[in-house]
């Protein structure tokens, strides 16, 4: 079913006129007839889960915001899509920005926010331009600003571009960055829902999560919850890259089997080669070997039982010729470059792992180094303020344990 991608292939999909012709902003009529707490209830019942990577139930997250707090509440739209292999939000921003604006209005209404900040990845110059133009159009037509559609609810959207740090996609460092501080994740508790942006209750939602909201509000929770599996309802964007015939962004119903996704949507592994491995949910999550891919479905639960995660849906497919050692080196280079440097294990561990990988790639590694890498990963995982350390530890562990023979063949 097409919920998120329904407007991707029409002319001028980013323009308000085209969007209105496709039932755009229709959900607002029903939205304003509901009380905010009913909206939260609807979203809870729909089973929508955060599409940024963690898969936390969206309605529950909204429910953490204190009711009737005196002072502002903020919504942050996380458009800092930096996960290697992920480019789904970019498509939403470029092809259907009004859907995101509509979703932002819904979420802001539900949590009582009068200002929403869109934190957009610095490299996304074009999506930022398109989104900003769409926001201007929405202001002109009273979908944003004071008294939206004559109702007693107003919303301002502020677009803030990032400056090129992967870590700022993590919700608390996104908040730090928005506040003008160094993009360091903040220690929790307090959680953003209690003390977030400028010390006020804040909800941070992913672009895809918000873009799913207009459908839920317009059609009610039931139709949405019937798509996909029971625990992972709805549709999900998968951005597939790597050794496939048709890389790109596809919308699937949750629960689709991984192999049939590769075959039916991505056009199969390229050059008639065999599959070697897939990173299903963005580079931060464990890699699956070809054998493991056989019985996995694209939903949160199935992925977890396979020992990985659906994450952001940034899928990287690797064929039989892929050099797994080189792959892991690319990842350690990336995470070393992006570690913010706040916590000791991550700051030092990421650099150490990178240097060992450099040595292994240069042919100077030993088998002992592989065990050392595993131990470093172990000492990093779960020991830091945010989950960045885990995001490096998981690929290290999965690559080395699942492709140990290949690594050993490169060692002295």
């Amino acid at each position: 079913m097409q919920i998120l991608t329904q407007n991707f292939n029409i002319m001028n999909a980013n323009r308000l006129s085209a969007y209105l012709g496709r039932d755009g902003y229709k959900s607002l009529g029903r939205l304003f007839s509901l009380r905010p707490e009913d909206v939260i209830e609807e979203v809870k019942k729909s089973g929508l889960r955060g599409r940024g990577g963690a898969g936390f139930p969206t309605g529950t997250k909204w429910g953490f915001v204190p009711k009737n707090s005196d002072g502002p509440v903020y919504l942050c739209v996380n458009a800092d899509e930096g996960e290697p292999g992920t480019f789904k939000d970019r498509m939403l921003l470029e092809r259907d920005p009004h859907k995101l604006i509509e979703g932002t209005i819904i979420a802001s209404y539900a949590i009582g926010a009068k200002t929403a900040y869109v934190y957009i990845r610095g490299e996304y110059a074009k999506p930022c331009k398109i989104l900003s133009a769409a926001i201007a159009e929405a202001y002109e037509n009273n979908f944003l600003g004071k008294n939206i559609l004559g109702k007693d609810f107003g919303l301002d959207i502020v677009v803030q571009r990032g400056a090129g740090a992967y870590i700022c996609g993590e919700e608390t460092s996104l908040i730090s960055s928005l506040e003008g501080l160094r993009g360091y994740p903040k220690i929790k508790p307090p959680f953003p829902a209690i003390k977030g942006l400028f010390g006020r209750p804040t909800v941070v939602n992913n672009v895809e999560t918000l873009s799913s909201l207009p459908f839920i509000v317009l059609n009610g929770w039931e139709p949405y919850s019937k798509i996909g599996t029971k625990k992972s309802p709805g549709t999900k964007l998968i951005s597939v890259a790597g050794h496939v015939n048709k890389p790109g962004v596809y919308e699937i119903d949750m629960g689709l089997s991984l192999i049939s996704f590769i075959e039916k949507y991505a056009g199969g592994v390229w050059k008639n080669r065999r599959l070697k491995a897939i990173i299903p949910g963005g580079s931060s999550f464990p890699v699956l070997s070809a054998e493991e891919c056989a019985n996995v479905n694209l939903d949160y639960e199935s992925m977890i039982s396979a020992g990985t995660m659906l994450g952001s849906g940034g899928m990287i497919v690797m064929d039989e010729t892929t050099d797994m050692v080189a792959c892991l080196k690319v990842l350690t280079d990336f995470y070393h470059h992006e570690s913010c440097g706040q916590c000791s294990p991550c700051r030092e561990g990421s650099g150490w792992a990178k240097k060992i990988m450099d040595r292994i790639v240069a042919g100077l590694g030993t088998k002992k180094d592989l065990d050392l890498l595993l131990d470093i990963a172990d000492n990093m995982a779960g020991k830091t303020v945010c989950v960045f350390a885990d995001a490096l530890a998981m690929p290290i562990k999965s690559f080395i344990t699942k492709f140990r023979a290949e690594f050993e063949s490169r060692c002295l």
Binding site: G341, Q342, C343, S344, P345, L372, T384, V385
Partner: protein, 459 residues
């Protein structure tokens, strides 16, 4: 008040306190680098991990609010492994230059490694090079390689000194502490960052390479530099003060201002007087105490008590002032050192003397314009204003009890060496009326004596 158990010991914590704080308050030590009582919680070092019963992962005790019924273990195998791994991580890029590092002996990284790990490093790669011995301000030097990026100094500057002089630049393992663009670490409290630095990254330009810390003796005292009277440690060896450090007297202040901290120099300058001096013709001649008596006799002897005017300074202790009160019938105070521009709401006060409160309370008046008498005895020093008031008179004899040639005023006939606050026991009463005892840190050298002793001798 929540009751919790840490390592089997039942303790009661204040509402809203963290587990780390509660543990430390109850004598249970949990190692930590980045946490400091008066600074905000950063939670970056990951050293204070503890096991909480019922929770799957280790928790950082610095950010864990103590709750009723919590059962905490600080010494499980997992905790020990985490500590070992954090220490290993912190040491991989550390230069391990303890033999030439000033912090050696009082370095948390060194202490913790010996206590909690002791493991040999498994790091075989090239260490990261960073800038060393950078003058980031007038009093502080930075060694980037020794830094563990705990951010205590950065937080101190912005939160306590209210000057965001320091920042962290770059990211990941290239991160380093530096001064914010266009700034230097020159706030009036900059040297506290040296105390706060758990390693040898920030060192005091003044103390650097002067003395190994294990040769130093620490004596509790009170800072005599202004009327706040901060509790301090005098770190000294062989009768020389090497540095002053803040002392935790459990009243909430853990910091010192730079001027107070460096004020020890004025008590042991090269002009320090160690022997009595008598003016013969126009030159001072040093001599032994017993040789001085005839001169003292001829200068001040034979006059009625009402003919002898005494002047005492607010830098003197209550005990010195009391002794002077019983010795003199006519007693005034000098008005030395008022620098109103170095006052703030953090620690520093404009009154740069420690004991004006006591003189106020005793109602000892400043020197009047019509001061009269035959003999003048000055204890400590006079201000320029005081000097004008006393020098237009014909004194038969002038005697001064002071510690430094700088303080000797032009007309003095006899100068007796006075013991400083570091060389005597005493009491200061600070601006708010708080009475604070200080103790003799070291024996006076030469013929140096306390004011009480001199007054007794010349009676």
């Amino acid at each position: 008040m929540p009751k919790l158990k840490i390592d089997g010991i039942e303790i009661e914590a204040k509402e809203g306190t963290t587990v780390l704080r509660a543990a430390l308050d109850n004598g249970i030590f949990i190692p930590h680098f980045c946490w400091q009582t008066l600074l905000s919680i950063s939670g970056n070092c990951r050293m204070c991990a503890v096991q909480v019963e019922g929770l799957p992962k280790l928790e950082m005790s610095c950010n864990l609010i103590a709750a009723d019924g919590m059962i905490i273990t600080t010494d499980t195998e997992e905790v020990r492994k985490t500590r070992r791994s954090v220490l290993e991580f912190l040491l991989i890029n550390h230069p391990l230059d303890c033999p030439i590092c000033d912090q050696a002996g009082e370095c948390l990284l060194q202490d913790y490694h010996f206590k909690y790990s002791g493991a040999k490093s498994r790091f075989k790669e090239k260490k990261i090079k960073k800038s060393k011995a950078v003058n980031i301000g007038p009093h502080v030097k930075l060694d980037g390689e020794r830094c563990i990026l705990c951010s205590r100094c950065v937080r101190f500057c912005s939160e306590i000194a209210k000057e965001s002089d320091l920042a962290i630049a770059e990211r990941g393992d290239s991160s380093f502490i530096t001064t914010a663009p266009g700034r230097r670490l020159d706030n009036p409290y900059s040297l506290n960052t040296v105390d706060l630095c758990p390693v040898g990254a920030l060192t005091s330009s003044d103390f650097r390479f002067q003395k190994r810390v294990w040769f130093l003796k620490s004596s509790p005292s009170i800072c005599p530099h202004c009327s706040t009277g901060c509790p301090i440690w005098i770190d000294h060896a062989d009768g020389t003060i090497y540095r002053l450090r803040p002392r935790d007297d459990k009243t909430g202040n853990l910091f010192l201002c730079d001027e107070g901290r460096l004020s020890y120099k004025k008590w042991q300058s090269f002009k320090r007087i160690y022997f009595p001096k008598v003016k013969i013709w126009d030159d001072f001649k040093e001599m032994k105490t017993d040789e001085t008596f005839t001169y003292i006799q001829s200068a001040v002897g034979g006059y009625a008590k009402s003919e002898i005017a005494g002047i005492i300074s607010p830098r003197c202790s209550c005990e010195e002032i009391d002794a002077a009160r019983s010795y003199f019938d006519v007693l005034f105070r000098s008005t030395i050192q008022e620098t109103p521009f170095s006052e703030d709401t953090i620690i520093r006060r404009a009154d740069k003397t420690p004991n004006n409160f006591y003189l106020d309370r005793l109602n000892i008046k400043p020197i009047p314009d019509n001061i009269k008498g035959s003999v003048l005895i000055v204890i400590d020093a006079l201000s320029n204003d005081d000097l004008l008031k006393v020098t237009n008179l014909e004194w038969k004899g002038i005697l001064q009890i002071t510690h430094d040639d700088e303080c000797v005023f032009p007309g003095a006939d006899i100068v007796l060496p006075r013991a400083t606050w570091a060389e005597s026991d005493g009491t200061f009463i600070n601006y708010s009326g708080k009475r604070q005892k200080f103790y003799k840190a070291m024996e006076p050298k030469g013929e140096v004596r306390g004011t009480e002793a001199w007054l007794r001798l010349i009676k």
